[in-house]
Subunit: 220 residues, 2 copies
Amino acid sequence: MYVPSTKPGTDSLQGFGSDRAIAPSDFTYKKGKTIFLQDDPAKYVYEIKSGAVRTYKSLPDGRRQINAFHLQGDVFGVDNEKFHRFTAEAIVQTTVRLVSHGSFNMVAESDPVVLQNLLRMTTRSLQHAENHMLLLGRKTALERTAAFLHEMDERAAATDVLSLPMSRRDIADYLGLTIETVSRAVAKLHCEGVIDFVGSTQREIVILDRKRLAAFDQQP
Amino acid sequence: MYVPSTKPGTDSLQGFGSDRAIAPSDFTYKKGKTIFLQDDPAKYVYEIKSGAVRTYKSLPDGRRQINAFHLQGDVFGVDNEKFHRFTAEAIVQTTVRLVSHGSFNMVAESDPVVLQNLLRMTTRSLQHAENHMLLLGRKTALERTAAFLHEMDERAAATDVLSLPMSRRDIADYLGLTIETVSRAVAKLHCEGVIDFVGSTQREIVILDRKRLAAFDQQP
DNA sequence: CGACATATTGATATCCATCAAACCGGGTGG
DNA sequence: CCACCCGGTTTGATGGATATCAATATGTCG
């Protein structure tokens, strides 16, 4: 994996709350490009400056399960292991801040503050995974789709219109469904007056009724 | 939650690798008893001395998703939070070693060794959750069931016969299936000569062909 | 404008859930 | 000891939610 040493920043990586300088550098991936592959040696930790990333596992025959979508500000690739446990790809053009995984680990080993932040991040991922297992194991297609829009709405907040960077295929592989089923579920929510589309593309969505959207989901 | 101060041990909790003494005490739960509920304040961390535990989340209408089964030697209830994110119940009569979560956290805050072990445990849970999401989102009933037996076989190892403490309902709620579907999948594996039953109960299983069992599963 | 990717919509198939009944072992009490 | 019940499991018949297959829009980009 080639990494240019462009514009090495001098700030500490905010996401880790360390006051030690861990010289990071930025890099940009084009839409669809692989950031790292499953079982690749984990050389870096990534913080998204702009764009969006999907991380996933897949079976030998191609079936794919997306673990998570990472948006601006998110940190990913922190595997606490020598090798990545999944593949990461840029969903759209994405700029990330890279931090050397090795030096990062060295700092982490001795610094309780960094360790605590690592632990917090890992715990947050675990929490998300637990909720997602409930979704995948026990929710209906409509509930999953509503839950997805609900989640994205909460994360992207601050704007009136929800702009989804990912395709229907990505959504389907995140929710354990097919693209057709996702499409039908979204159509249903539209018919019911819970959401609306803006612009020409189907990825710009307005949530008309957050209460009813949450009701279509089934929170624990 | 009532906790008797019986036989307070003096050893450090092995699972955490700390050399500081965190006075633990033992407690026994009868089959089916709740150890803690989702959203309960997290007062303790648990290490299983004998028995088995299920942890799960459920939806308001009762649908249930079991995150994980915990067997002898496993540590659970480490939520790194003030409240438990799921419910824990004893599957069979279970004895656990309790460690006060508060004092544990105090030690953890400053001790890099304890923090690293916490991180390792959390990472392992996350890893398991990621694999399980792939199972729940993308595998067939037969693949799920084979994966379950494979997992249990690996964990329980050391014996010839696999003795499952959990009911078909538990297995179903772990795999995102119904009990009938689990039963049929197990029957199929039996017909195919991959597994066999011993004893009178259906929970004593012999793996006849580990290779073929792994093939029914689909490893990434 | 045309070609290709992405999304929707419709028709049909399939896997698994649901409903229902039988089975089985284990306890209990006569 | 056996009859009975009871929870758990298996097995069978049917239905339904979602996958699959196919055709049609719609948008994107050269």
